[in-house]
């Protein structure tokens, strides 16, 4: 065995260029495979943790995915609101530790405006329990204060202290501006990779305030209440779109869910965000599986290249194999020599590929996360990655048998005499 290893290493060293190019091709393929797998895993993880630390999301009764989509991802609209009375009742449930109401319906230059309480910034968690941080400024406190998400700020170059106007309605084409009630940016959030980045946060009272002289989506003609007069109105919300709920103990989650689902005064529903996120992922997860399939094919191409290179070298090496036969090498030795060589190249390819992903994750990972909210974590291979690496190495091993068998057949047919 040590004879073979010695010969193999010398032979590889002698053909460094071809061998390293072949190993590089395999390394790139493996890096792609592992990179896709890691992005896929991290994307799923990140997605499943778009919202964490919230035990229940409460909204008007509809579909679970629909409630998640509009309350967390701001996609689509609520069919109904939840009355403030019900919100108060749920908040008073003995198992409920905190409740953050959310009121949607307005927008700012295509981004959703989220009416909520300042507690939102303390309670909202994403990833593995990470809090929202402020890149600049502070939470809102005055009536017309606003806090904007990282992407909103980046897109329009907003700074703390700037004035912005919100529009009635959602989507790119808003119906009418609330230009009589401008907001002042008091805070800009750090990037989270969640829909929070694409949101503009104001207080619930502000949502009420900009709508006092509105009725049914339009300004009341001829009525304009000056901003100084607003304190005379009752700005407590009458209804909200949804609410994030945290419990004293996770054990109570189904009890509270039942309490909400069977609430007598109004048809409501409560969902577990983690479970519903998984449900949603299974719908969009097809894409990632297609990606993985593509990179698996790239690996196969790389291995086919390995076999081709080693077999091509065999033609030149028949003489060398005949010499080894004369020196006492058995056909099994010759087989081992060639198989060991291609297995080694495959192994080196896998190792280098893994190192590439690892250093890529270390070097580019922070940038990817900051710029694109994409998670690419460095670390030892996960279970799934070990499986992939194992599969690639087995495939490399199987591929290595091909030149091995050819050399074996040659050496039996040639004996010690060298054919050209």
């Amino acid at each position: 065995m040590s004879v073979l290893l010695h010969l193999t290493l010398r032979s590889i060293a002698n053909r460094r260029l071809t061998v390293s190019l072949t190993a590089l091709a395999i390394a790139l393929a493996v890096a792609m495979l592992l990179g896709v797998e890691r992005l896929r895993h991290d994307a799923r993880e990140g997605f499943a943790q778009t919202i964490s630390g919230t035990d229940l999301i409460v909204g008007a009764r509809s579909g679970a995915v629909q409630l998640l989509l509009y309350s967390v991802f701001h996609i689509g609209d609520a069919t109904n609101n939840v009355s403030w009375h019900s919100i108060e009742a749920i908040a008073e449930h003995p198992q409920v530790e905190w409740l953050v109401p959310i009121s949607l319906g307005d927008s700012h230059r295509g981004f959703r405006v989220v009416g909520t309480s300042a507690e939102f910034f303390e309670r909202y968690r994403y990833g593995r329990g990470r809090e929202i941080g402020f890149a600049e400024g502070r939470p809102f406190s005055d009536l017309f204060d606003t806090v904007v998400g990282a992407e909103v700020a980046a897109r329009f170059g907003y700074r703390v202290g700037q004035s912005i106007v919100v529009s009635h309605g959602a989507g790119e084409v808003a119906f009418a501006d609330h230009d009589d009630r401008p907001f002042t940016i008091v805070g800009i959030l750090e990037r989270t990779g969640t829909p929070v980045d694409r949101s503009v946060f104001v207080s619930l009272e502000a949502i009420e305030a900009i709508h006092v002289d509105w009725v049914g989506g339009a300004r009341i003609p001829g009525v304009s209440i000056p901003t100084e007069q607003l304190h005379r109105f009752d700005l407590r919300p009458k209804a909200v779109t949804a609410a994030l709920v945290g419990l004293n103990s996770r054990v109570a989650v189904f009890r509270v869910q039942r309490f909400v689902n069977t609430y007598p005064d109004e048809p409501l529903m409560a969902i577990l965000p983690g479970a519903t996120l998984q449900q949603l992922w299974s719908v969009i997860g097809v894409v990632e599986r297609a990606l993985l399939a593509v990179s698996a094919i790239v690996v196969l191409v790389g291995l086919a290249g390995l076999v081709a290179v080693v077999i091509a070298s065999l033609g030149e090496r028949r003489r060398e194999l005949a010499i080894l036969r004369a020196m006492g090498a058995s056909p099994a030795h010759v087989f081992g020599l060639l198989a060991l060589e291609s297995a080694l190249i495959g192994l080196i390819g896998c190792g280098v590929g893994f190192a590439m992903v690892q250093s890529g994750a270390l070097l580019v990972g922070p940038w990817l996360e900051a710029r694109h909210g994409l998670l690419l974590s460095a670390g030892w291979p996960s279970h799934g990655e070990w499986m992939l690496l194992g599969a690639v190495m087995s495939a490399a091993f199987v591929a290595s048998l091909v030149p091995g068998f050819r050399a074996y057949r040659y050496s039996l047919a040639d004996g010690m005499s060298v054919r050209i």
């Binding site: 010398r10 060398e320 004369a326 020196m327 006492g328 058995s330 099994a332 030795h333 010690m416 005499s417």
Partner: protein, 240 residues
């Protein structure tokens, strides 16, 4: 019968009733009823190209298996050995020099000389000094400068390569050295020098030498001349 066994024991090579045909080839290539080489003998074998000299050497080396008959090398019946054991036996007991391209190109000259020692412990065990030291001694005897030994084989001249191959064949004193046209790539002057060195070393070690060549000028140096046609009866005997 006993007599027969005794001569076989005393022979370096004893072939009886051997036939061999290449698979796929039309007819029989070799038909050797009786051929013996005694221990320590130096035999010059010649014959026209394609007559089967190299094939016979492969059979003696146990790389090819005969269709019928018996080949005893240094007292060992090759047919009694498994394929793996034949490979080991060859590694331990037979040294080779070929016509050209004898060396593994990516190994140094020294590593090439040591190659049989890597495949056979017996060769190593027959040495009185460590294998690399013995390799250097042989190289010196064969007129190879010490500096050459650490160069890759591919950087040596053809004459140097042949001498490295001779050192490799001789290391660990195998009982039999087989040389298949080892001088045909050398000019006349070098041929003589190479042969001098090879014969001197074989003498020193008491090694049997089976030397195949077209070149009759070299035959004077040998005790015995064999024309392959004389021992190979292909086409002479009626079938059956």
């Amino acid at each position: 019968m006993d007599d027969d066994t005794n001569t076989r024991e005393a022979s370096a090579i004893a072939i009886a009733d051997l036939t061999f045909a290449w698979p796929g080839a039309g007819g029989v290539c070799l038909d050797v009823p009786d051929f013996k080489v005694s221990r320590g003998e130096r035999v010059f074998m010649h014959g026209p190209s394609g007559s089967g000299k190299s094939t016979l050497l492969s059979l003696v080396a146990g790389v090819l298996e005969p269709g019928a008959g018996r080949i005893v090398v240094l007292g060992q019946d090759l047919a009694a050995l498994s394929a793996r054991a034949r490979d080991r036996y060859r590694a331990a007991n037979i040294g080779f020099v070929f016509q050209m391209f004898n060396l593994v190109p990516y190994l140094t000259a020294l590593d090439n000389i040591l190659l049989p020692c890597r495949f056979s412990c017996e060769r190593v065990s027959r040495l009185e000094v460590p294998a690399p030291a013995e390799a250097r001694r042989l190289a010196e005897r064969l007129d190879l400068e010490a500096g050459l030994l650490d160069r890759p084989a591919s950087e040596l001249s053809v004459g140097q390569q042949q001498r490295v191959a001779a050192a490799r064949a001789l290391i660990g004193r195998p009982g039999l050295v087989i040389a298949d046209e080892p001088t045909s790539a050398l000019d006349a002057d070098r041929q003589q020098r190479f042969l001098d060195l090879l014969l001197a070393e074989c003498d020193a070690a008491g090694t049997t030498l089976l030397f195949v060549s077209h070149d009759h000028r070299l035959s004077r140096r040998f005790e015995r001349l064999v024309e392959l046609r004389d021992i190979n009866h292909v086409g002479r005997r009626a079938p059956g």
